[in-house]
């Protein structure tokens, strides 16, 4: 047991834990951070796109030394069938701005950098140290944690749970229920290494410009999910993910999906003669607003993935993680300054502050989406097929006149999904979106 007491213990050194620890230490709190991995980021998987805004609020000048891969100047959205895709590409010179808005990163390196900043702020970080459970006093108030090291008990006024999507500590301590298969996606990802010149010519990029592709369609074999391909400096991240419940139902493996995705005629050339060095799998909480668990209680508070803070539609997670982490940190500092104890009632402030940010607003806005996507698989199977067929009919010049082609296309949609069906989907989607 460690005699020394800490103001706060943070479980996890991902974006949320780092944001929380950083905020508290910067404000003079004595913070101990515990990380399971060999080093921060060693266990973490992400696409990964970094959204500058959330990080700027913590470290305004992060661009000076953070390991950023490429700033994104082109976004491609693809709906794919087995042989083709219909795409929406947006590329703009405006993204070559002074302080770019989105970057690709490699988590292992980024987390290391972020963690360095956190330690420089005064946080004590112990790696290869796994928190087994929360320690409570006789009234059930959390007063510390028990780790997997000898003499592994350590105490603090509050424990910040930034342990990520699994939230095992929370589960074991009965603070939250198990994840529901239909509200969490399993994503797999590979890193394919290529000389930087090759990447730049393949995606027609210069300097540190980057391109990202988000793809949906038959690549997920009718399951709810999406694929992605991001350009890094000397590598390409390619991955795909679907709801765990779908994998279970279809008895499909994510790896099989990824293989197929990589071999799609539109993707394959982009990865040609690359060397695959890393294969990783990770969960993404996609239940959205409705699956957010209890976020705080006497002596504990939850941030990041552990709180299900992910906006699946926009592939945002790390920014929600950093924001929730920051706000939890600020709340704790605020209470500490007022000499208030970290009781459930007082921590209500955390919720209040979150409500005022994009985090809660967005998650609320999309609260019906997960359900919709789960129940309307046609979005991932039928529609992409129809769109691609339509495009083909439209662009193929074969003597048929354009009006006939238009009819043909409309026909195909009606056949595929009755007119009421089409209109219904449109409505449902619109409603879910509101």
């Amino acid at each position: 047991m460690i005699e020394e007491r800490f103001d706060a213990i943070v479980i996890g050194a991902g974006p949320s834990g780092n944001a929380a620890a950083y905020t508290m230490a910067k404000n003079g709190l004595k913070v101990l951070q515990l990380e399971r991995g060999e080093y921060p980021g060693s266990k973490n998987v992400q696409g990964a796109i970094l959204y500058a805004n959330a990080l700027e609020k913590l470290i305004p000048d992060f661009r000076e030394d953070a390991p950023l891969e490429r700033h994104i100047i082109e976004q491609r959205l693809w709906t794919m069938d087995d042989t083709s895709y219909v795409g929406m590409h947006y590329r703009s010179e405006d993204f070559n701005e002074e302080r770019p808005n989105r970057y690709t990163i490699i988590r292992a390196q980024f987390d290391k950098w972020f963690s360095r900043k956190v330690r420089e702020a005064g946080v004590l970080l112990l790696c290869e140290t796994t928190v087994k459970e929360l320690l409570r006093d006789s009234h059930g108030k959390v007063m510390g944690v028990k780790t997997d090291r000898d003499g592994g008990m350590v105490f603090a006024d509050i424990v910040v749970m930034a342990e990520g999507v699994n939230g095992l500590v929370g589960q074991r301590s009965g603070l939250r229920s198990e994840l529901k298969p239909e509200s969490v996606a399993l994503a797999v990802k590979e890193m394919h290494f290529l000389p930087r010149e090759t990447i730049e010519s393949r995606f027609n990029l210069k300097g540190n410009e980057g391109t990202v592709i988000e793809a949906m369609g038959t690549i997920t074999a009718g399951m709810t999910g999406t694929g992605f391909l991001y350009t890094n400096q000397e590598s390409i991240s390619v991955g795909i993910g679907c709801l765990v419940s779908d994998f279970a139902e279809r008895g499909m493996t994510p790896y099989g999906l990824l293989e197929a995705f990589k071999n799609h005629p539109s993707i394959k050339p982009m990865l040609a003669n690359s060397e695959c060095k890393e294969y990783a799998a990770h969960l993404i909480p996609e239940g959205g607003y409705k699956s957010i668990p209890e976020l705080f209680g006497d002596g504990w508070i939850v941030v990041g993935d552990a709180g299900q803070f992910v906006n699946a539609v926009h592939r945002e997670g790390s920014n929600l993680a950093m924001t929730t982490g920051r706000i939890a940190g600020e709340t704790i500092v605020w209470l500490k300054r007022r000499r208030d104890e970290f009781s459930k009632a007082n921590l209500m402030e955390y919720k209040r502050r979150l409500e005022a940010t994009f985090v809660m607003k967005d998650l609320k806005k999309y609260k019906k989406i997960p359900e919709f996507l789960h129940n309307n698989k046609q979005v991932f199977g039928l529609y992409p097929k129809l769109f691609n067929a339509a495009a083909q009919t439209w662009f193929r010049v074969d003597g048929a006149d354009k009006r006939t082609k238009e009819k043909e296309i409309l026909q195909s949609f009606r056949k595929g999904r009755s007119l009421p069906g089409l209109i219904g989907d449109a409505f449902k989607l619109a409603r879910a979106w509101r």
């Binding site: 460690i2 020394e4 080093y39 060693s42 490699i106 292992a108 390196q109 004590l124 970080l125 112990l126 290869e128 140290t129 780790t147 090291r149 000898d150 003499g151 592994g152 008990m153 350590v154 290494f193 000389p195 400096q233 000397e234 590598s235 003669n273 060397e275 060095k277």
Partner: protein, 284 residues
């Protein structure tokens, strides 16, 4: 007693990639680790400290970031860590490395007490020469015990040590006088997991960092690239094998059918081998 362990921070070579065009190393994101062989040395050292009392000092020569690895050794339970870092050591081969380390060891001895035992790993996974250990021993006149599998006896009063070392075709049981330099064989023990207390101490501990001057190294012509008799002329990728393997047709044969064909193919290509096997089978 005072024991010094030399460790090296190495790139996790399993993760090194080679640029397919330029054949240069693509270092991006290659993590560094403590040379795995050195952990056996460290654990052995700590066990003897635990048994006989005293201190374990860990020493490494490397870039500033090698501090990470040193901290790790403190978590495991080392008492003190010294980082020798200086631009002038860049590009050192094993001779220049043993020169710098030997001098620093002498300095460590002055500051923290004469060591009875100095440990190194069997070899590194990047340099992979197994020379630095013997080099240090020779320069400091320590009795050299390489490929040690077991320290069976350590008698401080008489200052004698008995070890089992791996030799060609067998195990040598040697007895010699302290102080010694020992290079530990792999698989002889397993590095311990530091307690929470050690881990906490390690993150706070301050790593002793010396420049060449601090370590009392004067003759810089013997350090780094300048002090290295060997020079790397060129680095290149291994040539690819001329032609691919002849594939045994699979058709839709049963495993047995396939096995028959494989055997047939082997004997077709190497009739002599079949005869040898016959004789072997006939028990000759």
């Amino acid at each position: 007693m005072h024991i010094i362990v030399c460790i090296k921070q190495v790139p996790d070579s399993a993760q090194i990639r080679v640029h397919p065009v330029t054949n240069t190393i693509m270092r991006q994101g290659v993590p560094t680790i403590i040379n795995p062989y050195d952990l056996f040395a460290l654990e052995e050292a700590m066990r003897w400290r635990d048994k006989l009392g005293g201190e374990v000092t860990v020493l490494t020569m490397g870039p500033p970031m090698a501090e990470e690895s040193l901290r790790k050794t403190l978590t495991y339970g080392a008492d003190r860590a010294v980082l020798l870092t200086d631009r002038c050591f860049a590009g050192a081969d094993t001779l220049a490395t043993s020169y710098a380390l030997a001098h620093t060891l002498r300095k460590v001895a002055q500051e923290f007490g004469e060591p009875q035992m100095v440990f190194t790993g069997k070899q590194t996974i990047d340099g992979d020469t197994a020379q630095v250990g013997p080099g240090i021993a020779k320069r400091l006149g320590l009795n050299q015990l390489t490929y040690v599998a077991k320290i069976s006896e350590l008698d401080i009063p008489t200052g004698r040590i008995t070890v089992e070392r791996r030799a060609e075709g067998g195990v040598q049981v040697l007895s010699t006088r302290l102080p010694v330099l020992i290079t530990m064989l792999e698989g002889t023990n397993e590095i311990r997991r530091g307690s929470l207390e050690n881990a906490l101490r390690a993150v706070r501990a301050q790593i002793i960092t010396w420049s060449a001057a601090d370590a009392g190294i004067k003759d810089l012509t013997q350090c780094g690239l300048r002090g290295s008799p060997t020079i790397v002329k060129k680095v290149f990728a291994p040539p690819p094998r001329a032609k691919k393997a002849y594939q045994i047709p699979i058709e839709d044969l049963s495993a047995d059918g396939l096995a028959e064909n494989v055997m047939a193919e082997i004997f077709k290509r190497k009739p002599a081998l079949e005869d040898d096997l016959m004789r072997f089978a006939a028990g000759e």
